[in-house]
Symmetry: D2
Subunit: 353 residues, 4 copies
């Protein structure tokens, strides 16, 4: 319950100012020679302080595997891992202990639990995603080697990457600070983020994720459709507001004649408005989806708000915050997708006698 994955599962713990984040991955198959560098590489992509347009906080985000791996190979038993918090100490949070920040989870946690860890957002902090990246980067190694999962920033505010993903070189995504593989668009996005940042404001955007070479057959008919599992994972990311795959919301404007993907004789399809999924199951074509992110709620400028007693107060974000989370969300989307796929990929092996 409330794990990621159905058979291959991830349970996590950790809060912004606790001792550590961490998780347990169960049912990971034995015998995988773990590429630890690939795991740390993904964590490094997510960590703060990588470029001038993201937060300058410093955290090493080093994952230490505690179990389930012996002599470099997975043993088939639960894989525990820990990522220590390094900046969790001393700061004084008493000024926000009673204040509810607008569009944060302060109020809802108090309503739900009757109390909350107010230091840095506690459990509601997006730092939780560090667990998902670690687990996803490991799960990715279970998938066939040719499965490629490539996310990129497809819009920031009103600036869209208009080119279809087929016309982009997705291997170049990380070459721009904003992780948009189209250099001209990337430049505009970066300029926009810098402008917004100067104002102490923040901005939203979208991420496109493309999965190539996924075998046909992945996903389950009912209550386990591939798109539903992906949507569930993505909408657990902090700030995510929407998910669409294939033609998505545009497809809702179309007619069947326009939308149906006709087959070629090799069972590929001439178009791919389906987004590589039919009846909840992959068909061998590219799977692609888009996730919408709202602007970060923490502003580095004063906002009116209320405290626990309903008194009006002024809140103002301090220190180092992202003006736009999109660049750092790219590895989150990718590795979360990898975990979802690895889970369904393993399950699919049991679908035929």
């Amino acid at each position: 319950m409330f794990t990621l994955g159905n058979f291959l599962t991830l349970s996590t713990f950790g809060e912004s100012h606790g001792l550590a984040y961490g998780g347990i991955i169960t049912n990971f198959p034995a015998g995988l020679e773990v590429d630890f560098e690939k795991v740390q590489y993904q964590l490094d992509r997510r960590k703060p302080g990588q470029s001038s347009i993201v937060t300058q906080r410093k955290e090493s985000d080093t994952v230490v595997f505690q179990s389930g791996i012996f002599d470099g190979k997975t043993t088939g038993t639960p894989i525990g891992f820990i990522i220590k918090n390094e900046n969790q100490k001393s700061r004084d949070y008493s000024h926000i202990a009673d204040a509810y920040r607008p569009s944060h989870a302060d109020f809802t946690y108090d309503q739900k639990f009757g109390l909350r860890d107010y230091r840095g957002g506690g459990k509601s902090s997006a730092r939780e995603t560090v667990n998902w990246v670690a687990a996803g980067a490991l799960a990715r190694q279970v998938l066939p080697a040719d499965v490629e999962i490539s996310a990129y920033v497809s819009s920031v505010g009103e600036i869209f990457c208009e080119k279809p993903y087929q016309d982009l070189d997705l291997s170049k995504t990380d070459e721009s600070d904003v992780r948009c593989p189209d250099p001209a668009t990337a430049e505009k996005m970066i300029a926009k983020i810098k402008e917004i940042k100067k104002e102490g404001n923040t901005i939203g955007g979208t991420i496109m994720c493309v999965i190539k070479n996924l075998p046909a057959g992945i996903g389950e008919p009912v209550f386990g459709k591939l798109q539903a599992e992906l949507a569930k994972a993505m909408l657990n990311i902090n700030a995510a507001k929407g998910f669409e795959y294939g033609s998505g919301f545009c497809g809702a404007k179309m007619t069947g004649k326009e939308h149906n993907d006709l087959f070629n004789s090799d069972f590929s399809t001439k178009t791919n408005l389906s987004g590589g999924i039919q009846g909840g199951i992959s068909n061998g074509m590219d799977v692609y989806f888009r996730v919408a992110f709202k602007p970060v709620a923490t502003l580095l400028r004063p906002q009116e708000s209320v405290d626990r007693d309903g008194n009006m107060v002024t809140v103002e974000g301090k220190g180092r915050h992202d003006a736009c989370v999109l660049p750092r969300a790219v590895p989150i989307v990718e590795n979360l997708a990898a975990f979802v796929l690895a889970d369904l990929y393993l399950i699919n092996k049991l679908r035929r006698l």
Copy 2:
């Protein structure tokens, strides 16, 4: 695994031309005086043949509860229910046994399972949703009586209901055949669907769902966020291509200053771009979301396609099919949402000592 719900769960069975659909609801609390009419009412809203713009197939879709209810009250033990298939007999499906219809699940089922029940789509048939409506309509009775869940058709093709939901009388939704509560827009939608139908074509659209009076505190911090559970449920509906809540994809174009919902002193918010959810937990404001549906893949006109051996064939839908599923999807969205909410509502009762 692959049930709907986490604590209150629904497992289902059934395929288009099997004997029956049905399901088992577990962990339903004891002592509820069941309103059977409300359950059947929701099933009747979903069933075919209700108006000139939906399929004219006749099915009574009568749910028969088999257990878990005694003297009109739930007993706290599993609730089994059955909805018999009435039209499942005799027709000859051999002509499509080997053909793969475009944008259907024929090919992916064969790839996954090595065989499939080709009669009427088998398990991939949208008739599965009859189970969800039955279970959801029952689960709805667990929620506080003032929780209102109202879905309506917000667009058909390019025709959008431009008014915000606050300006609509949602009690009038069922007064139009297309289930759009704005009469002028409804008229245009109906005209469009009739035109499309005449061509043997189909058309997509979107459904908006609004949940009023949901108490604060519903939804779980990680891997059980309210929006993620709703998205997962909605994207399991056949033909669903996207989900967004609150500001959704529009929110991704905004800045934090525009997007943050400032508090009133009674903890309501001045705006509600959050869609009633912060940190995955309801805040007491309206929860609202939108689901995109692609056009139905079955066209009543010939399409080129392939068979299992890769030979080109012509397929053509016969008989009675929906040109637009949106009107019938309205009760599906509502009752699916009801089940998700009832599950998280019960779980929330255990969140504090």
Copy 3:
């Protein structure tokens, strides 16, 4: 939650005097040619009225599969099944509606749920096991063909079958009405049951179950040990009071030198006090376990008891009840074990890359 099995799962519904029993089996692999006769055969072994020493109630206990099987083969989608209740009508239960029968679940259901279906025990009726036999008999067909699961009555009251199972011909179990494969012991058991029955009394006993040719590797290290999964299943059977495997409670009297099973060079072991399981995982030797059953609580003679208000009342079983459930419990134990094994067998296929 509260299903049988972890990956291959069984959810069930039904109560003594409801319309039907039934269940849903999920994650059953596609492509199995179902042997329906084997399923019905196991149900027939469990059903009442088979011999003079069990209840003479008549129920046909015919299972009807509703879905998940097409053209005689499993499709990989959920398998729904129904077993109609035939004797559930009209009888007057008002005399026991308020009485609590000794050592029945009447009191505890009322305490838990605040109400109960008092007709024939409602959900607490052992008729629920009909579901388990149906599902188990199907699951058995997933196991390798040479896996043999043989249960028999190893004691009735003080009468024990003293021979070790290796000295018995387990194919002869069903030749005696009491299902003990040792004819001399069977005769004594039958005489004892007849005597007890004449008194309106009942008697307990034990069942031994032997699993031959189970491959090594079945069972999971932590919280999924083979013995734990078997124990859980067996202790869900009505009237079960204990479970032991291998040396069991006798092993607790021994020293390590006596108890350790030394290896042969082919990895078989010279003795098998381990009962074919080490560290929760099968080792290829026979798995065997014993289940203790208390005497049936329903006596065909008056007993003092209390009603809901604490008034003293006299209760007396009427009609047709088993004086000893052991013979009918043999197929329950076998098929329940089959389900547990099939679940762990499938899971084990995913344990190595």
Copy 4:
């Protein structure tokens, strides 16, 4: 899947010579003022080196909670905890890397996973139970304060504590090194263990566990019976061979007239052969059960065995091992039972509207 508990769940990780053991507890209610000393006290009861009759290994077994607790109170979010391994370094295990020790899990792990962590038994080490004690000791604090869970050693080899538990002062259990509350029996047990230990041999035994003041209503009708959940937990303990509750295997020798527990007018029962459970649900009387443990497989004397290639080898335990695990298993049984009860206790709160 493969967690302890159904709603309140424990996932664990760790192996004998890994960096740490640890776990995640989910769905723990918010607002509990944690008594950390009670948790550490239970861990101290389990840890090695407490008396002359158990292993003299030194491990501090200090639990460090990583999350889910703030200002001494549970926050309702996942509770992560870590127990570092302190003795895991340096020793040379290459001599046993290829040997299969008799009645250990060496062979079965290799068969299942194709490899294993051979250092100190890896995942199959009983050190895993340190996680269960930590989690159980915390879960115990969720139960009503008057629920008492008291386990004690009821037999060692052939030496049985003949007195019924009602005649023992269970508060005195820890006063004897062997944790048997009957001083005369304890003395004999201790003498026996010392004798066995001198021989490099080991010995089995049984543990009785008594739960007082458990409210009526705990446990679920089907696939969640209280006895089944307890049995599953207990049979996951290393070396456990059997479980019985109430009359257990003795009850299988009795008649219904002898076995039925007649009611008093206050709904207590005159006898309690049921062991406080009817229909899988607690009835308010004492719940009691017994667990059988085989003798430890590691002998401090040479035994013949085989290696991975089937060659005969001699194995001999070295260092510090328990000659009898029973005393240290007492807190394991108690705290495991506490976790099972806390889970079902919380679930029971949702059973009525």
